[in-house]
Amino acid sequence: MSIWEYTPAPESRESARLRPSYQMFIDGEFVDGSGTAFKTINPADEEVLAEVAEANESDVDNAVRAARRAFEQVWGRMPGRERSKYLFRIARLIQERARELAVLESLDNGKPIKESRDVDIPLAAAHFFYYAGWADKLEYAGFGANPRPLGVAGQVIPWNFPLLMAAWKLAPALAAGNTCVLKPAETTPLTALVLAEICQQADLPPGVVNVVPGAGNTGATLVAHKGVDKVAFTGSTEVGKEIQRTIAGTKKRLTLELGGKAANIVFDDAPLDQAVEGIVSGIFFNQGHVCCAGSRLLVQESVADELLDSLKRRLGTLRLGDPLDKNTDIGAINSAAQLEKIRSLSQIGESEGATRWSAACPLPERGFWFPPTVFTGVSQAHRIAREEIFGPVLSVLTFRTPDEALAKANNTPYGLSAGIWTEKGSRILWMANRLRAGVVWANTFNRFDPTSPFGGYQESGFGREGGRHGLEAYLAH
């Protein structure tokens, strides 16, 4: 029994300005479209939040045509300095409506308000700020003297960082002079539709940004549409491969940001308290719904017991529950389907002989919940060490030497991210050099910044988002 319980401190749900229904955004207008409206629910209590218009084939077609018109008549020929100012406006509007967006994001996604408030929304605004400044400086970006936009970008984004992923996609595309048709995830369409409203408030010309909610079919229709010049996708490796097959033989350009199974490697000379924090943020940030999550902890045998004791003690302080409570560390799993996948892979972990430990935190009765879970005694042969669980489940493996750590870390078809914890500088650089991963965090983990290129090796996808490198995906050269 605690002597000092934190009294619930929920953020007001009213801030979200939730509406009973949301329309799609095509050619500067909110319209009903002709698909079958679907419901989006709050994963924390399974209550319906709103009805959302679904874009079917003709809606996607309208959106792509609108984007084409806007590209040819307005946006593609607009001076960069003017495009730049639109993007700055959008960035500011996101900041002005930050609280509304944060609460709405937490309602729709299930993530803790402290993350949507302190990470998702500020980074989304920062992304627009960063790329706003590129719009009139493209000839200095290193992609030739006369960099040109590609045309219409079809962009399909996941549910784990709904607004942030929209920003990652839209900001560089618009800065480079492309127009966009964005398909938000089926379970988290709301903030992208508020972003559409922000585009209206910014007086962005009609058709420059279009938002077409829907499920996989809508996305597949968009990707396959003949009027799309560029496809950008963030999501599962499985769907990414399907998209790559779909665009085979076309002139469409493609970037993919797919799954991962990152190794977070802790050496015996690591700053252990910070390593524990890095492990926690590596796998329990956003309920582990992070493609670059540090889902495989590789710990040097000589400190394994000590580190795991500290880790478990630390996990005991994590607070799971109401995503709107400002003191919540672990929110709800985004959907019933995802929860089922996490459960089933965890069961496989147990049946394959790994030892399961879950933090002793009571789970709410309604909604989709999974406690922070650690599997020890895991080997590379276990499925939980190879497959992306995309949930708050950490697999712990041990190693004895840097060579062994490296071999295990690289022993995956993925290659999105990796973590290294050691106080020895030369070892950091040695490891960073040899890890086959697009992002290497040394003595930190899960840090993101608009100036920092992000993206994977191998089956984690290709192309980079963020930084100067992020422009390349949207420029002809």
Partner: protein, 290 residues
């Protein structure tokens, strides 16, 4: 029939180049190679899917050493290759002239040698051009640098038997990749001679593996190979690329589609597109504190 004053020349057997060795195709097959006007030149080895398999194994084995070599060292080796090319200049002029039906292949061979020298100089510069330190909002040092993609399959251009080949090979290995290349199907002999140059330079075995044979037969095995990280479709006709791209998706290969129409003018400034096509950007974060 040799006259008394002349001698009978010693012909060369044209073989594959895999892992630094010159095997015949494991299939035992060969195919006749002629000049464009039909004069028989030689029998080239006709590689099979098993040769593809062996070549990929060799390329993978060579990857860690080649990608781990210093950029300076790679530059030295590439330049050494250029020196060896220059030494065989006369031979290449004759072979390219035969292969491509040219009266004078001097300028194209010179361009090929110069192209190799150009890429030799890129090895230790590309990271400075495409890398960066990134001013993140926080107390971290953050930098991005290019790294080789891995094993690259290259379907070499079908017409330009040496300049085209060198224009696709050199950028891939300059960046630290290792390569399995299929030479121009009907003009493979300069590629085989290039292999002899590579073997007598300081290039480690397996960094470049050169196959001769039917492009259409070998390309699907490369496109579908799960240990090949990228594929260059330059030597495949546009309408035959679709299926290869589909196969490439099985392990999310990076696909370089190649020119949309005819083969490009290989003498034009190539830019750095072929270097960056087979480079990954790695970004590293570290806190800055006391």
């Amino acid at each position: 029939m040799p006259t008394e004053s002349s001698r009978l020349s010693v012909r060369k057997t044209y073989k594959l180049y895999i892992g630094g060795a010159f095997p015949r195709s494991e299939s035992g097959r060969s195919y006749p190679v002629s000049t464009p006007d039909g004069r028989f030149l030689a029998n080239a080895s006709q590689a099979s899917r098993k040769d593809v398999r062996d070549a990929v194994v060799a390329a993978r084995k060579a990857f860690s050493g080649w990608s781990g070599a210093t950029a300076y060292n790679r530059g030295q080796i590439l330049y050494r290759i250029a020196e060896m090319l220059e030494g065989r200049r006369a031979q290449f002029i004759a072979e390219v002239a035969d292969a491509e039906g040219l009266n004078d292949a001097e300028s194209t061979v010179d361009a090929a040698i110069d192209r190799w020298v150009w890429y030799a100089g890129w090895t230790d510069k590309i990271a400075q051009v495409t890398g960066s330190s990134n001013p993140v909002a926080g107390r971290y040092f953050n930098f991005s640098l290019p790294e080789p993609t891995g094993v690259v399959a290259i379907l070499a251009p079908q017409r330009s038997s040496l300049l085209g080949l060198i224009s696709v090979l050199a950028p891939a290995i300059a960046g630290g990749n290792t390569v399995v290349a299929v030479a121009a199907q009907d003009r493979p002999l300069p590629a085989s001679t290039l292999a002899e140059v590579l073997a007598t330079s300081d290039l480690p075995g397996g960094v470049i593996n050169l196959l001769t044979g039917r492009t259409a037969e070998l390309a699907p095995w490369l496109a579908g190979h799960m240990d090949v990280n990228a594929i260059d479709l330059t030597g495949v006709a546009a309408d035959e690329r679709t299926e290869l791209e589909r196969l490439a998706a099985d392990n999310v290969k990076r696909v370089f589609r190649g020119p949309e129409g005819d083969e490009p003018d290989w003498t034009a400034d190539p830019g750095i597109g072929r270097l960056t096509a087979f480079l990954e950007t790695k970004t590293v974060w570290h806190p800055v504190g006391t």
